[in-house]
Symmetry: C2
Subunit: 102 residues, 2 copies
DNA sequence: GCGTCTATATATAATGG
DNA sequence: TCCATTATATATAGACG
């Protein structure tokens, strides 16, 4: 969807990979949100950039259940969260919150 | 993106809501997959239709962490999963599916 | 409900500042 | 390294079988 057609394979150039990530992530989240609204669906979306930054969306409507395949993800999340909590200090709290927020 | 422009609000007609769900879900998953490949990102996507059917995608690469806002989701998943396991029998498959449905 | 078919809306690749 | 633009690729609304 652009001036040229691209193959779906890892973009080698780090810069353009970052640019594409930014654009497509934005589009993906937009569509996730639209789906949840239009179709009254529960949607949970988690994205980690290759640099480890977290982005999330979750429609908060009724009941959302995670799929089995995400079990490991949940486990890792729990671990990370615990680590996070352990190393968290009062002043680091805000920083971490911001980090998680974007 | 079609013959006409639509507002982003819940589609009242159940039939067209289902049709739209099917189409957009497909597109969303495709884009989730593309993002993960193109940008070497970790992506986890969970969708529950309004009728309770589950759809998922998770790139299995490196580190995927769930966002804070998904905590309740995880909890619910865990609960449901436990229930599922407890009541599951070979012949109870269908029943379990119903359980997950809502 | 599900696949196919367009016309049109949107997303976005490439580019320029 | 970001914004803004814009040409093009893609997604999809609406219609039909």
């Amino acid at each position: 969807m652009g001036r040229g057609k691209i193959e779906i394979k890892r973009i080698d150039n780090a810069t353009s990979r970052q640019v594409t990530f930014s654009k497509r992530r934005s589009g993906l989240f937009k569509k996730a949100r639209e789906l949840s609204i239009l179709c009254d669906a529960e949607v949970g979306l988690v994205v980690f950039s290759s640099t480890g930054r977290l982005y999330e969306f979750a429609s908060t409507r009724k009941k959302l259940i995670l799929p089995t395949s995400m079990k490991s993800v949940i486990e890792r999340y729990t671990e990370a969260k615990e680590e996070h909590m352990q190393t968290m200090s009062a002043s680091a709290e805000a920083k971490a919150a911001m980090l998680l927020r974007n």
